[in-house]
Every structure is written in structure tokens, then in C-alpha cells.
């Protein structure tokens, strides 16, 4: 192709292709340079002995860092806590999210106000939320304990060993309003006729919920479960902010979740390579779990029709 006749020689189809590639190029270039390259650079680093000072002299150590992950008792402990947290939090939050959405879907007065109230916490920035809940949970001067006193409840040390995970879950649920909205959108999408037909047949409310609402909502619940798992496994900012330095000073703490451990290795001890190995193990776990959930979905997710564009 000669430069002079370029514009004329191009067919409509290839002109559109070029336009396509030009238009996606901002994304693609930044994606390659600032996502893909760091991703694989990090993978490469996880096979070296890079510790923050020796980038020039860092050398390949093979799988050593990965072996260390599985012999690091703090990492294994943190992984256990994280899996437990996920196993407890995701079902609770899915259930609470669905029930709150069902409440918001009732034909009641002022429903818009309730919807705003439920959604409000999820737009509060994490930093503010953490500061607020830290004040709520404080042992001596915490507002929760002050509020519980007139009810005759004993004072609870909310961020202590026994209660810290529960407190974390409470805060997470408080901030989960966007999930409620997604559920609500799903509930609104269920056709009224289904419920009417069931009512005429004399089906009680509970069986209408089990036979109609749950199956019709299953794709959305499925979405929420996946997102919940992915987010919980990566959790680190909120536990750090809630427990502050206490969490980082004493590793074996209830909310010392996996990414907190990785964060600690990298930022406190400058163990970059080991931190990357820890994170790549997590990344693999997330990918595998997502795959398993996707695979299992065909047995319990009900699709009304074939998915289209």
C-alpha cells in the first residue's frame, strides 16, 4: 500500500477496524503498561530474592518464596482466618442483602427514604466508616457500649480477640448497600403475574418466596456471592484501620487476614519478593474459587432465557 492512496484504497470495513483500534488504544496502551506489565513483573519478582534494597543484585531463587508461603505459620494462620471470614460473611451478607431488598420491595409509604438510608452507608468513604466504627467499638468510651448500658447489657470489648471478627462483619454488612440495590433491581424484574398466579392457587407467602423469589433471584444471588467472595478474600484496609497498630504489632490476631500479612511483609519488612509470592498464591486461589463457583452455578442458578447481548 502506498501512502498517497491510503485513504482511497481502504475499504469501509478496514476503515472501521482502524477507528476501533484507535479508539480503544488509550485503554489498551495503559492496560499493557500499567496492568499487564506490572502483573508479570510482579510474578517475575516473586521468583527472586528481592528485598527492597537489592533490586540491582536480586537473583532468581525459583520456587523458594512459594515454599516459604506454605511453611510460614503466620501466612497459614492468616489464610485460615480469611477463609473462615469468607465462609461466615458471604452467606450472612447475601441473606441480609436479600431480606432487606425484599423489605424495600414491599408496597409501603416512604420507601424511597428507607432505600436511601440503606444505601447511604455504602457511599460513606471507607476511611470515614472505619474511623466511625472505631469510635463505636472503643472499649471504655465506645458509643456502642454507652448505648447498650441503659438496656442492661454488659460492656463488650468489641475489638478484642473474641469479638473482633464479629465487629468486622457488622461493619462490612453495614456498608453493603450496593448489594441491596442490585437485589432490589432483580426483585423488581420478577413479573407480578407469577405471584398473582401463585396467590390464586393459594400458595402461602413462604412458599411463594421459596418457589418463585429464590429461583428467579438465583442469578443475582450468584453474582453477589462471587463478588462477595472475591472482595472478602482481598480484604485488608478495613481490618487494619479498625484495629490500628494493635493488628500489625501482634500477628496472631483474629482480623489478621491474609492480605494484611502480605501488606505487613512488604511495607514493614520490605520483603517485596515474598509479598508478591503471597499475593500470587491468593490470586490463584481467587481464580480457582471463581471457576468452581461458576462451574457449580449450572446446578443451582436458574436462567429464565439464554443470555444474549
Amino acid at each position: 500500500m502506498k501512502g498517497s492512496g491510503l485513504a482511497l484504497n481502504l475499504t469501509e470495513k478496514s476503515r472501521r477496524s482502524i477507528a476501533f483500534y484507535l479508539m480503544i488504544s488509550p485503554w489498551f496502551v495503559v492496560f499493557v503498561l500499567f496492568s499487564l506489565y506490572p502483573l508479570f513483573y510482579g510474578l517475575y519478582l516473586s521468583f527472586t530474592n528481592y528485598i527492597g534494597l537489592n533490586l540491582q543484585t536480586a537473583r532468581w531463587v525459583g520456587l523458594q518464596n512459594y515454599k516459604n508461603v506454605f511453611t510460614d505459620s503466620d501466612a497459614l494462620y492468616a489464610l485460615g482466618r480469611t477463609v473462615m471470614l469468607t465462609a461466615v460473611y458471604v452467606p450472612i451478607s447475601t441473606l441480609v442483602g436479600l431480606l432487606l431488598a425484599v423489605l424495600l420491595n414491599q408496597n409501603v409509604r416512604g420507601v424511597g427514604i428507607y432505600r436511601t438510608i440503606f444505601y447511604l452507608p455504602s457511599i460513606v468513604p471507607l476511611v470515614s466508616a472505619a474511623l466511625m466504627w472505631k469510635m463505636m467499638y472503643a472499649n471504655q468510651t465506645g458509643i456502642l457500649n454507652v448505648a447498650l448500658k441503659p438496656l442492661g447489657m454488659p460492656s463488650v470489648n468489641w475489638l478484642s480477640y473474641d469479638y473482633a471478627t464479629m465487629s468486622l462483619i457488622i461493619t462490612l454488612i453495614w456498608a453493603s448497600g450496593s448489594g441491596i440495590l442490585i437485589n432490589l433491581a432483580g426483585l423488581k424484574g420478577i413479573s407480578k403475574e407469577l405471584y398473582e398466579a401463585a396467590s390464586i392457587d393459594g400458595a402461602p407467602a413462604l412458599s411463594r418466596f421459596v418457589r418463585i423469589t429464590l429461583p428467579m433471584m438465583s442469578p443475582i444471588l450468584f453474582f453477589n456471592v462471587i463478588m462477595g467472595i472475591i472482595h472478602t478474600l482481598q480484604l485488608y484496609i478495613l481490618p487494619i484501620l479498625l484495629s490500628g497498630n494493635d493488628l500489625l504489632m501482634a500477628p496472631i490476631r483474629p482480623n489478621y487476614v491474609y492480605v494484611v500479612h502480605a501488606f505487613q511483609q512488604v511495607f514493614a519488612f520490605q520483603r517485596f519478593a515474598y509479598g508478591m509470592a503471597l499475593l500470587w498464591v491468593l490470586f490463584t486461589v481467587i481464580l480457582l474459587m471463581t471457576l468452581v463457583v461458576f462451574r457449580s452455578s449450572r446446578y443451582w442458578v436458574h436462567y429464565e432465557m439464554e443470555q444474549e447481548e
Partner: protein, 278 residues
């Protein structure tokens, strides 16, 4: 109107549940507000003991509040402006223009939504250090130009709903592909644009960790400053002044709440029209 089968009792139960849940959801916000109005060093209380606005004055003077606020605004302005436009352009390309490899590239975008940010943040730190981009706002400009996978997805869903005829008519009139986008599709997508801009603002405004990693203290935005500097007693960095912290975190979340209330209509409209369904 009462639905068939909904008794008076179950309606009472629904109202009671809604009320209890609302109170539970509002309680931390309300408690923080009370706390922010209490005199320093007093015991927390459910109702504010006085209308003590001095904590709010302290919140803006005890730390370099205005400087951090300005940093927050700069980061947000750069990020929201570039990402909103860039994501729109990419979303348009993916929804309206046929080209080889389009499906594969789109799958790539969807899968990056699953990529945990922290896996790339540490190598990114090392790379930014190499290129001398640490402690500057340039990374936010670059990320913004790259767009955001979720926003690209939203735009793409929205643009997919617009009838083909519109585009064909524009082409008949001699509009180039880019002009068709700029003059016809972009103006149509204003609800989505506003939605994306609001979400982007909320996300960037609240982000404390990325600035913490890539910036030095003088360039911290408010979010990072609040968590890493905090309102402490002079001479004792461990002793936090709760009432001032409460006031500070209220001031910090105010812009997000204001933006949310003004943009609420668009948020609902934008997500509905983009067809975020199961």
C-alpha cells in the same frame, strides 16, 4: 392498596422491620455527629451535650486540612475528567464498531475487573520509582486516560441499546465515526456519564491506600491524611482526639454525600438505562 394475602399484622411487621433496620443503619452516622459536637474529652453520648462547633474549627486547623483538601481535589479532577471521557470512548468502540479481535479484547476487559489491585500495586510502585513518577500526580492522569473496566462496561451496555438507524443516518450525512460519537452518542449518554463521574469521584475521594503508597506526606489527599496523620494531641501521637476526629471524618464525607444526593436521580437512571440486570 393492600395486596391480597397481606394482613394488617404482616404490614405492621414490615414497617417495624424497616424502622429497626433504618435506625441500625443510621446509628453510626448519628453517633459520630453527636460525638463531633461534644466538648473535647467528654464521655460519648447518644445525644450531643452541646452544640460545640469548635471541633469543626479544630478539624481544619489541627492538621494541614486545606492543603490535603486541595490535593484531593486535584487528584479527583484529573481522574474523574479523564476516566469519564476515556471510558466512554472505549465503551463506544466496543459496542458499535466491528473489528477483528473485538470479542477477545472485551473478554480481557471483563477479566481485569477480577484482578486484585494489590497484586499489581507493589510492582507498580517499583516501576513508578524507576520512571521517576513517584510522589507526583501523573500516575492518576495515566490511569484516568486508560479508563476503568467497570465504566467501560457500563458505557458499552448503554450504547448497545441505541438503535442502528441513528448511526446510519449520521453516516449518510457524512459524519466520521469519531464525529458520530462526539456529536450524537456522547450527548445521549449524559445520564451514564454523570453516573460514571459520581462513582469515580466516590471511589477516588475515599481511596487512602494508593496515595499512601505512591505519594509523600505533602501530597497526601485528605483520605490518606486522615488515616495516617490523624488528629492527635501535640507531643503524643498515640492519643487521638475523638471529637475532632469525628468532626474531621464528617467534613471528609460531606462532599460524597452532597454529590450523591444531587446525582441520585442520575445514578438510578444511569444504571437502569445501562441495563445492569442479572
Amino acid at each position: 392498596m393492600t395486596e391480597a394475602g397481606t394482613s394488617r399484622w404482616s404490614r405492621a411487621l414490615i414497617y417495624a422491620l424497616l424502622l429497626i433496620c433504618s435506625l441500625a443503619f443510621l446509628f453510626p452516622l448519628f453517633a459520630t455527629l453527636s460525638s463531633s459536637l461534644n466538648p473535647r474529652g467528654s464521655m460519648p453520648s447518644l445525644l450531643p451535650k452541646a452544640f460545640n462547633y469548635k471541633n469543626y474549627v479544630d478539624a481544619t486547623t489541627m492538621i494541614d486540612f486545606w492543603k490535603y483538601l486541595r490535593n484531593s481535589f486535584v487528584i479527583n479532577a484529573i481522574s474523574v475528567f479523564t476516566s469519564t471521557f476515556s471510558s466512554g470512548l472505549v465503551g463506544y468502540a466496543f459496542s458499535r464498531i466491528q473489528a477483528p479481535g473485538r470479542k477477545l479484547l472485551f473478554m480481557l476487559i471483563l477479566s481485569t475487573m477480577m484482578l486484585p489491585n494489590i497484586v499489581i500495586q507493589i510492582p507498580t510502585y517499583i516501576l513508578l520509582q524507576k520512571y521517576g513518577l513517584l510522589n507526583s500526580f501523573y500516575p492518576w492522569l495515566i490511569w484516568g486516560i486508560g479508563g476503568t473496566p467497570f465504566f467501560i462496561f457500563l458505557y458499552r451496555q448503554f450504547f448497545s441499546t441505541i438503535p442502528k438507524e441513528l448511526e446510519e443516518a449520521a453516516r449518510m450525512d457524512g459524519c466520521s465515526i469519531f464525529r458520530t460519537y462526539w456529536n450524537i452518542f456522547l450527548p445521549l449518554s449524559i445520564p451514564v456519564m454523570v453516573t460514571v463521574a459520581i462513582m469515580n469521584f466516590q471511589e477516588k475521594w475515599g481511596d487512602a491506600i494508593v496515595p499512601f503508597m505512591f505519594l509523600k506526606q505533602a501530597k497526601y489527599p485528605l483520605a490518606t491524611a486522615l488515616t495516617n496523620i490523624g488528629y492527635t494531641v501535640q507531643g503524643n501521637s498515640e492519643l487521638i482526639v475523638q471529637e475532632v476526629t469525628a468532626a474531621g471524618s464528617f467534613l471528609f464525607m460531606l462532599p460524597v454525600i452532597v454529590v450523591f444526593f444531587f446525582g441520585q436521580r442520575y445514578l438510578v437512571e444511569g444504571t437502569v438505562s445501562a441495563g445492569v440486570k442479572g
